[in-house]
Amino acid sequence: MRIDRRRFLKRTGGVATIAALAGCTGGDGDGGGDDTTTSSGGDTTTTSSGGGGSSDPLKIGVLLPFSGDYAWVGANVLPVVNMIVEEINAEGGIGGRNLTVVQGDTEASPDASVSATNRLVNVENVSGVIGPTSITMSAVIDTLVENEVPVVTPTAGTTSLDSRGGEYIFRTVSSDSLGGRAIAKAAREQQYNSIQDYERMALMVGNKEVFQSFKEPVRSSFEEFGGTITTAMDIRTGKASYTSEVQQMMDSDPDITVLIASVEDSIKITEAGFQAGYEGNWFATQDQTNQDFLSQSENQVTDGMLGLNAATYQPAQEAGRLESFFDRITEYAGWEEGGKVFATNTYDAMNVMGLAMKQVAANDGDLSGPNIASAIPEVAKPPEEQVTSYTQGASSIEGGADVDYEGLVGPINFDENGDIVAPFAIKKAQDGSWTEAGRLPPEAL
């Protein structure tokens, strides 16, 4: 017993030292997550072949960050997925099989996302994936496509998906190229921002893919709309101070600066601008146009600042569907508000996924990746019968109708690249909260 204890101490001591040394070389994050199975060997094509008897549950993978700085994304998405999955199971499941949800934590890091994806695809044999985010999309897209896994992501706006997808990859969130164009348009024309026609724009863009994705669309669109780009700076994310960067931005004399960075960096940058006496305005992306950003900043810094947001889809609001979704999710998940970022996108993503599976089962088809994936655009495409929820759509499918899913964020009609269009809202910060300054329908872009 004594020896055991001594050995134990020795071992744990060793581990601690190694951990300490590993951390010492640090800097590039805790490359953790590798401990999850990386069993990439062998037959990767057995995905969802449904060989194990029809009573086996179908698995839906939720491939998102559940830990780290972006854990809020997973936290906003997962309850919505669970809620719809319960609804599907209450309706008798898919062809008699229940759905279950499997989480894959990407930690918002490409390394971790690869091993999480391998686990979902090769070990869990998921039939469909909800996620990932822009941060990890390029790291995992090939694995997902090669293994014929249908993906509907409510979270990846990255422009790298503009010319990909449509076969296995779909999204229920607007592309950043559309978002970037919306920022340029809204800055250029007073009717959308309620302040002025901005002429000279500076860009400060974080040096990560998720931010860089916005840069080109904003720059080229703003010039196309007749504005001048005074400078387009790449800034390093996570720095202690951005005094020099802000000085450089101010030297180019813009009257509005588009800030494409994390909430934390944005706080530092806007405060540095305030300290240095910057008199122009700021324009933020969806990442900062939330209460989190305003509550950590001082009103004197943010007053008048513009932000981009997904607008409420008018038909969904007028029909009361938005309100009833908010009521339902706040009760289901115990949230204080239903309008969390990506919640409505997830509702649409999971409904489309569920209806596609239902369609395949109704056609007596094999619930394989290719079959489900090809049903995804079908159930969302007009004309025929418009449906707005899984339950409604499932009974229509059973009745033999060709359904057209109409979502909360937009009509959800996938184009050939699996993208959708949705309206944008331009927000203005005033006394610590965002108010709507204007609205940009997709036609205006």
Binding site: A16, T17, A19, A20, L21, G23, C24, D69, N207, D234, I235, R236, K239, A240, S241, Y242, T243, S244, E245, Q247, Q248, E264, I267, K268, E271, F274, Q275, A276, G277, Q296, E298, Q300, V301
Partner: protein
């Protein structure tokens, strides 16, 4: 315009140099008497900043005014430093520098994760007002807080100078640092001196953390460990174990980081500190300021 920019960069360099100086002096003092590099030192910065946030924010039931919260935090972290040294370092103090160094890395992990487990990873800020910079002589621009940071740092440097030169403790510290065995033979209770030095060192670390938090918020629990690298650069640049060298090194590093950011590229701020450091280690390994202390 060119002159303006140059002067302003010098001022930014001096501001950051002030923070680094307080941290570097604390680190170098403890090295002077213990002869090992304390990797847990970064956590003293972190604890200083977080304790101040909590004390001033009323987390412990009563809301203390910010300056008092800062002083209280410095004392508490000073005591923490003494405690850490008694629990982790004193028992193995005669095993040489390497075990101590490795232990200090472990201690830093323990401290950081304790804090993280307690307060979480979300970013914090000191409850200080945001100010616009005011013009001084039409040449340089500073906020009152930035000016305050410089003043506090200079006063601290003076206090440490007086401590080392004019007090009995300072003399004992210098004696212990110079030759511990000889100091002991001369009747100095070196164990006690070491403990007092730990208190001063950890307290200086906490103060550096608070000054950092005043300038660069919001911050997270990893802040001290990350900034430690910069503090190291200043310490080694000045010649480790030499307080005056550390002060000089800190100003150098602060200027290098800000000049590099302004005139080369703002993306490599901390890399400039290292370029200088590597240069010094290659050509003048004893530090820019040779000789004793």
């Amino acid at each position: 315009m060119v002159l303006d920019n140059l002067l302003q960069t010098v001022v930014f360099g001096l501001i950051e140099g002030s923070v680094i100086a307080v941290g570097a002096v604390g680190l170098t003092l403890s090295y002077g008497v213990t002869r090992f590099i304390n990797f847990a030192y970064g956590e003293f910065l972190t604890y200083g900043a977080y304790l101040t946030v909590f004390l001033a924010g009323g987390l412990f039931g009563l809301s203390v005014p910010l300056p008092a919260a800062a002083v209280l935090a410095i004392v508490v972290v000073g005591l923490l430093g003494v405690g850490v040294s008694r629990v982790f370092f004193e028992p193995i103090s005669n095993r040489g520098a390497l075990p101590l160094l490795i232990t200090s890395i472990g201690v830093s992990f323990v401290l950081r994760n304790l804090l993280q487990g307690w307060v979480g990873v979300s970013a914090r800020q000191l409850p200080i007002p945001l100010m616009r910079r005011t013009d001084y002589f039409g040449l340089v621009r500073l906020t009152d807080l930035e000016l305050g940071v410089i003043v506090v740092s200079v006063v601290t440097m003076l206090a440490i100078h007086l401590l080392l030169q004019r007090t009995m403790l300072g003399k004992r510290m210098r004696a212990t640092s110079g030759n511990r065995a000889l100091a002991e033979v001369a009747g100095i209770d070196t164990t006690n001196v070491v403990r007092q030095t730990w208190f001063i060192s950890a307290g200086a670390g906490a103060m550096a953390g608070i000054l950092y938090a005043v300038l660069f918020s919001p911050f997270r629990p990893g802040v001290g460990f990350e900034y430690l690298i910069v503090v190291f650069a200043a310490t080694l640049l000045g010649g480790i174990g030499r307080p005056y060298g550390a002060m000089l090194g800190a100003v150098f590093i602060g200027l290098a980081m800000n000049f590099g950011s302004t005139y080369l590229s703002a993306n490599y701020t901390r890399a400039y500190a290292f370029i200088i450091l590597v240069g010094v280690l290659l050509f003048k390994p004893e530090g820019i300021r040779g000789g004793e202390f």
